[in-house]
Symmetry: D2
Subunit: 189 residues, 4 copies
């Protein structure tokens, strides 16, 4: 199933960069669209605890349950609210400090998400295909985001063994692209 596969797609190499580039820290209020199995949610919750919170939307019940279990096991559920609804139907709260998207079609949700963000807040969308990032970047530019940049990241293991050190034979060649942007603040408008 396509969606099942998608939940394993974010790797530490991507999640770490997102935590850093979104400046997630204790006290931040984070909006996430597309919880999946909760790997990104867990890292975001770990970054914003103990005074921050992650509001995450996951309309697929089976994933909401998997994520809930994973967050409980990691001891961070008190910092996360999983909303079992589609973000298209409305986002609760406003003035979010940062937003993270990991859904197949991010662009129709972007205007709604934009209204929920504080001025100047950073944003990232994670997408596996080139076509998704084209549409995401187009929409972001149209609705008032700036500093739009897309990256892909790689990680390679080195088998260190004195006298016969060499990189691992196989590596992951692709997980997804990360498009970062920033909501234009009122002063920029």
């Amino acid at each position: 199933m396509h969606t099942a596969r998608r939940t394993q797609i974010m790797y530490p190499k991507d999640i770490g960069l997102i935590i850093l580039k979104l400046s997630l820290t204790s006290g931040c209020k984070v909006l996430e669209i597309g919880t999946g199995s909760g790997a990104m949610t867990l890292a975001a919750a770990t970054a914003v605890r103990t005074s921050g919170h992650v509001h995450t939307y996951e309309a697929r019940e089976e994933f909401a349950e998997i994520a809930s279990r994973n967050l409980k096991r990691a001891g961070v559920s008190e910092y996360v609210t999983i909303h079992g609804t589609n973000a298209m139907d409305g986002i609760i709260g406003e003035e979010y400090d940062a937003a993270i998207m990991d859904v197949g079609d991010p662009w129709p949700i972007l205007p709604i998400l934009r209204r929920a963000l504080a001025g100047g807040a950073p944003f990232v969308s994670f997408s596996p295909t080139v076509n998704q990032i084209e549409k995401t970047v187009e929409t972001l530019a149209q609705i008032g985001f700036k500093n739009i940049q897309t990256f892909e990241s790689f990680i390679r293991e080195i088998r260190v063994d004195t006298g016969k050190t060499r990189p691992a034979t196989m590596m992951v060649g692709h997980t997804g692209y990360m498009t970062f942007a920033q909501k234009v603040s009122r002063d920029d408008d």
Copy 2:
């Protein structure tokens, strides 16, 4: 100057992965050897505030000053203590939750650093050359670290422009290698 160059060598792609793999979160007590210009220190302080603290060692006075300025500007100096001494001469404190090294010769310091770490605590050393990682891995294995793994990470920008999307022509091909390990806890001994 060799040392000047080294202070610009850690990139978000590396720092983000380190924050994540060392599970840095609010309340952690972090030990850093080799402050450099403070880029890693700043990210660690952002991750552990408001109840955690970063103790960082930088014997080169000019770098300690640059780092101090950068941390102040970022508003995180209250979560960092810069020790202007060589870690070889002694590390203040114990039961650190995690340790980060970014020095040219990490191996002689490792036994001292090990004593300051809590059992099971994660560790990373960042080094530009293959020879450094060979000696680091050898020493880590000898003095009781486990789960030793070395990685290099890459990031590539994609120039997204509908109808003519392509990766950027130039990219950074190397910053350094990250060797992760974990102090054997008492139960493992």
Copy 3:
């Protein structure tokens, strides 16, 4: 100027793979569309001499001249005919053993090129953008090519210096994508 830049875009890492995957060897009759400055042409001529020949099309006079000079200097001009016309206006000859394209819009030329190829002959198109490869692959599939595969290649220099070996700091992150395919032979029709 766009076209000037394009002439420097093929690198040994790409050209070498093309020579190999197209099985270019002494005696082959090769068709090239888009001579540019002649780097690929030179390598193809070197591969097919002394009994083979490269027919290459370059409608831009200034490039035809640069390529002609480069091929003369390399001592392979007798194995190359540069046609100063647009391949859309017709391709001289038939039963080519292999074809190489390096033009901005390869797809309208593909049906003409197909007729000039021998059954089972290998083909490659080199393009810098993702959108070009989508249109190229679509067209190839429609007009009877098989074994369609697209690759990008990378090369990284290692600065070998005993005791301080490390990869070079900068590398080329993108030149272009290579789409390989094979003309369906009569037996496959």
Copy 4:
């Protein structure tokens, strides 16, 4: 078995670059040490036929047989002589136009190989580990080779499918390093 694995280690991405950088063309006399299963030998024979020849050394009888079969099947055996002896015991012929090595310990053979090469002739050694390339580069510099450069190459497949184009999930992260050099010609001595 270690040696069995080594025979599958050279990939088109490496072989293509070697053919190009060694300027192999019809008429060249090529020396190869370490035939393995003959993948590089086959490509070299294809490049130098019909008036050139490849002399290849393979002391392991089982590999010499596999290679012989592969070359016959590809129709290039008349352009190759497989010597079933160790190159350390002597190399037949002289004034070779190029040399290719793919053995675990290339350095003790280098002085013998050097004498068999024509002045100015290009050379490549393929090795999986960093330690091998350090010793190879050291030895090459000591015995009179110039233009010494080491590279690694990568290839990534792009799954082109209009509207959902993305790179393949897995890729080969390492085969081996290629160290290129050139014998100092008499004029340089």
